[in-house]
């Protein structure tokens, strides 16, 4: 393990029995898990290279229990790691040896469906897909669709500000959430927003979304639902050169077309996916674009024709257009199965998640190829091309000495390239522990200090999910101190009127 987690607090570990007994008082029966064997499923999340058994697992089933557990932990200086379904790809739910793992899996109820206000009120343990399933009989859906949507929970989606293939047009989680109930580490229960289109005061919902479990524990969520588009059709376009595919993406956007989804795969990814799902992908192309247009039938037909023309102009070598829903889903099947497909050709893989300006795509790919040679590890690339979000999959074998470290170093270099090209470290998977130590590549110490000051407004003792997101932990008292530097003469050189 190359990432250092905070030192376990020996005084907390020494009180383990007492702490477990106190937690059992709050959450009776099977809601407290403390045996080593039963805690194994909670040792890691989707970032499986990292494992750590927690001190104890607590699975509350009411907001009141969550509040009491947090208050107890706060009063006794015990760290807490919140967890939804544990699908985080950045280690956001990695337990701490001296921490309570707070699982929200029992919060599974859909509390209210309000079609007139286009809002659904759910508990945080409801899966992303279950929201859509609850409203699709009336023609509605919940737009953000991360690949893990069968398993991942809405609480986790809020923590990570999850995206998906449709977020270019329909936004990320943050653009689709109206309100929440959140329990602070003190046990205080706060209600933010509701069914209104926007909220009063500072946009707390906006900053809680994507805060990776460091600000509070979500116990209820109100999401916005949308009416399903009348129709959706997809084009599958092959290119002999990556550059041509990149140009095609830019020209589509430049023509004022915002597709529902626009995905790119490179040759290794195409081959892996085709071998796995037999979607009919062309194997002799260097890049494949899947472009989905959705909306009213007449509009989709019109835009499909325009996109086809653009693709031809950019030198496409193959172009198929879906004529049935079945065919559209087949186009997507390979892309959606890209990760497991790559899992079949390599014992292990590391999935990266940087974003770059779309125009830098060919340059980013060239740099990734160079790095692949340098580290002597293969890489397959899938991207949300529409929004420049790269998912290079680094292929390695954890059983070969040194390969894990090499893969991680390769991944870190890819993210450095993303930042260097004007992009960011993570487009949708979160910082977690995975990119924590790379934060200084993108942010200065002052930038990070301001973020941590905000953390202090929610969790002054730093007990919620410590060790995630920030490479260095500071005490809130130190962060809140005002150092008056400079400015001795009031407004010395600034023009005054």
């Amino acid at each position: 393990m190359t990432i250092q987690m905070p030192e376990p607090d020996a005084s907390v570990l020494a009180r383990r029995d007492e702490i477990i007994a106190a937690l059992r008082e709050i959450v009776p029966g099977e809601g407290v898990i403390s045996s080593a064997a039963e805690m194994v499923p909670y040792e890691s999340d989707g970032l499986m290279a990292y494992r750590q058994p927690p001190m104890v697992v607590v699975l509350p089933s009411t907001t009141k229990q969550v509040s009491q557990v947090l208050k107890y932990c706060h009063d006794n200086g015990i760290r807490v790691v919140p967890r939804g379904a544990g699908t985080s790809l950045s280690g956001g739910a990695l337990p701490l040896a001296d921490g309570v793992l707070l699982g929200l899996g029992k919060f599974k109820r859909i509390r209210e469906i309000d079609f007139d206000n286009r809002a659904v009120v759910v508990e945080p343990g409801v899966t992303n897909l279950a929201i859509t399933q609850a409203v699709e009989h009336a023609g509605f859906y919940y737009a953000p669709d991360p690949s893990s949507q069968i398993a991942c929970t809405i609480g986790g989606n809020i923590a990570e500000n999850s995206g998906g293939v449709h977020c270019l047009k329909y936004g990320m989680t943050t653009n689709n959430v109206l309100g929440c109930e959140i329990v602070l580490i003190t046990g205080e229960i706060i209600k933010i927003g509701g069914k209104c289109t926007e909220n009063a005061g500072y946009d707390l919902m906006g900053v809680i979304t994507g805060s990776e479990g460091l600000l509070g524990v979500i116990t209820e969520v109100t999401v916005r639902i949308l009416r399903k588009p009348e129709t959706a059709r997809a084009l599958m376009v092959g290119f002999a050169e990556i550059e041509a595919a990149g140009r095609c993406v830019a020209e589509i956007i430049g023509a004022g077309i915002i597709p529902g989804g626009m995905e790119m795969m490179d040759k290794p990814a195409i081959h892996a996916a085709e071998a796995f799902v037999h979607a009919g992908y062309p194997l002799d192309v260097e890049a494949l674009l899947i472009i989905e247009l959705d909306g009213p039938g007449v509009e989709v037909d019109e835009l499909i024709a325009r996109v086809e023309t653009i693709a031809q102009r950019c030198g496409s070598t193959t172009c198929q257009i879906s004529t049935s829903e079945q065919q559209r889903l087949l186009f997507w099947a390979g892309r959606k199965a890209a990760f497991p497909a790559v899992g079949r050709i390599s014992p292990d893989y590391l999935c990266m998640d940087g974003t770059i300006p779309r125009g830098k795509l060919p340059e980013a790919l060239a740099r990734i190829r160079q790095l692949s040679e340098k580290y002597q590890l293969g890489v397959a690339n899938v991207f949300h091309a529409g929004d420049g979000n790269l998912h290079p999959l680094i292929l390695y074998d954890a059983n070969k000495p040194g390969e894990t470290d090499r893969a991680e170093a390769f991944g870190a270099d890819i993210l450095r390239v993303c930042v260097e090209l004007g992009g960011v470290l993570t487009g949708e998977h979160g910082v977690g522990i995975e990119k924590r130590d790379l934060m200084p590549e993108m942010f200065s110490e002052i930038d990070l200090v301001q973020q941590q000051r905000l953390k202090c407004a929610f969790d002054a003792d730093g007990l919620l999910n410590p060790g995630k997101v920030f490479p260095t932990l500071h005490r809130c008292a130190e962060l809140g101190r005002l150092h008056v530097r400079g400015g001795k003469l009031p407004f010395a050189d600034i023009p005054r009127f």
Binding site: I192, D203, V207, G254, E299, G487, K488, P495
Partner: protein
Amino acid sequence: MDTLKPRDAQDVEQAVRAAVAAEQPLEIVGLGSKRAIGQPMATNALLDLSALNAVVNYEPNELIITVQSGAPLDDVLSLIDSRNQQLAFEPIDTSALLGTAAQRGSIGGMIASGLAGPRRIKAGAARDHLLGAEAVSGFGELFKTGGKVVKNVTGYDLCKLLAGSWGTLAVMTEVTLKVMPKPEAERTLLLRGLDDVAAGRAMTAALGSPYDVSGAAHLPGSALRGAGGALGAIGKPEQSMTLLRLEGTATSAAHRAGSLARLLADYGGAELLEDTSSAAAWAAIRDVTPFAADGPRALWPIWRIVCPPAAGGAFGQTLARDSQGEVIYDWGGGLIWAALPPVADANAGVLRKRVEAVGGHAMLIRAPEETRRAVDVFHPQPAGVAALNARVKQSFDPKHILNRGRMVRGTAS
């Protein structure tokens, strides 16, 4: 009052540091278009950002623009319009409502106020389009947050806090915004004569349809009394108008307008407004021109009420009747602009009690200074949320140097 005109971000940093050292609160001003909104402030110097007005980088194909915060919104809009792009959240022009000079203010003011127009229901608000920012906190430190790409989850999303913070958290110096293609065509269905409750139902049906409605507003006949301009041009005496907007390719917009008209056949025959007249009507709705400062309700306080959309019609109708005031509806009923006859507390007590009962909130957007001093301009929050808001303020501006007292009554001293 001292006015400081920084030339760059470093000047802003220096000005804030000096203000912190001297405990001298600053009023942050871009082009001054919205200075009359908020609690009266306790500031004794003006930080004028109008010299920070450069367009740093505009990349139409990346759908982003980076500009300094003092850049005039009018200039930025005409620049991106030349590439057939727009700010999809339709920032409101408050000049008619507030009776200020005819300009839309600065980019920084647009974000700090966060006032979005009719397309809010589809495209979101400033918060949803602010991708990154550089700003000077009340610690006197220049920090950046977010990025310059359309998809990013690296670190806390402090952009969300800056949008709608009315300059009370940090002085933005540069922002990166998402720009979107302008729709090729727009069509508006116009229904006449519906009462507020029926109009609410029609808008709910339209927004629950698959026809991708990008504007849903209702203007009662009495609210249009004396209205000139675009709304006067399409209005009929004492008849309400309900407008539903469809945007996209010309074929698509026309096709959906037809489908929507059939869906709403029970609400009466619909007229059709096309591109220019449609755009003019929506601009007037966005800018709340029926309640303009030079119109018949010039002296009436104006409230901006946000409530669950389906509750809007009944809520607004009762409010207008009981207060002898006027209302107009946007966001399918989710936004109500209310002009209420002047009384001592601008009706704050009664109004807030009622709006809380339906799960909404209300902000006093226009009123004389003495009224704004006497009532809460922003909706008072429950104790826990208010305390959290105060801690958030503390984490950016512990000495209350920036726009002291603007958002919370009683914090100006």
